[in-house]
Symmetry: C2
Subunit: 110 residues, 2 copies
């Protein structure tokens, strides 16, 4: 269904900007958490706990930030649900996408 949505050039620009903005926020948050963990490190095992944490976060971020047009509506709904993006930042997308994003959000909020 989502695979058949058409994205105009202008929509792709809006999508790219919103996607990157959310990713930057994700990175900023992860840098903050990493600094806190490193500040609290006391013994060797804390290094491996930090390593495990980063392995886990890297996998999650790789999964979450999937910039395929067939996935983007679901990706945006998830980012909005997580509070990493606002619907306002998607202004410029056509109603066909916004409608689907709102539909996913209303399911997620139930």
């Amino acid at each position: 269904m989502m695979e058949h949505l058409k994205w105009s050039g202008a929509e792709k620009q809006v999508a790219k900007r919103a996607f990157n903005a959310a990713l930057e926020r994700e990175y900023a948050e992860l840098m903050h958490q990493t600094r806190e963990r490193v500040g609290a490190m006391q013994e060797g095992d804390d290094l491996w706990r930090l390593h495990d944490f980063l392995t886990d976060q890297r996998r999650k971020i790789d999964d979450k930030y999937d910039y395929r047009y067939s996935q983007l509506v679901v990706v945006f709904a998830r980012l909005i649900h997580e509070g990493r993006l606002s619907l306002d930042e998607l202004e410029g997308l056509h109603e066909d996408k916004l409608e689907k994003i709102r539909a996913i959000l209303s399911l997620a909020r139930r």
Copy 2:
């Protein structure tokens, strides 16, 4: 050859203490490097560079610190060669082990 060395209880204590001392130094150095990297982080990719660095260091440390009695003479020679351990810290080991450690070191220094 090394597999047939016999380790007395007293020697095992010396070995364990020396091994742990070197490992603690290794961890302290790696924590220092990690703090420096985290202090210099600026963008998201720096997080993944840190992650790659820790992946690499973890593998190296796992390989290097092999506490099998069949390997310990080679492990100690390597740690001394790297400056992470001194021969003095192995005082209490019998001459059969010290001799082999010195032999490996003299090869490594050629």
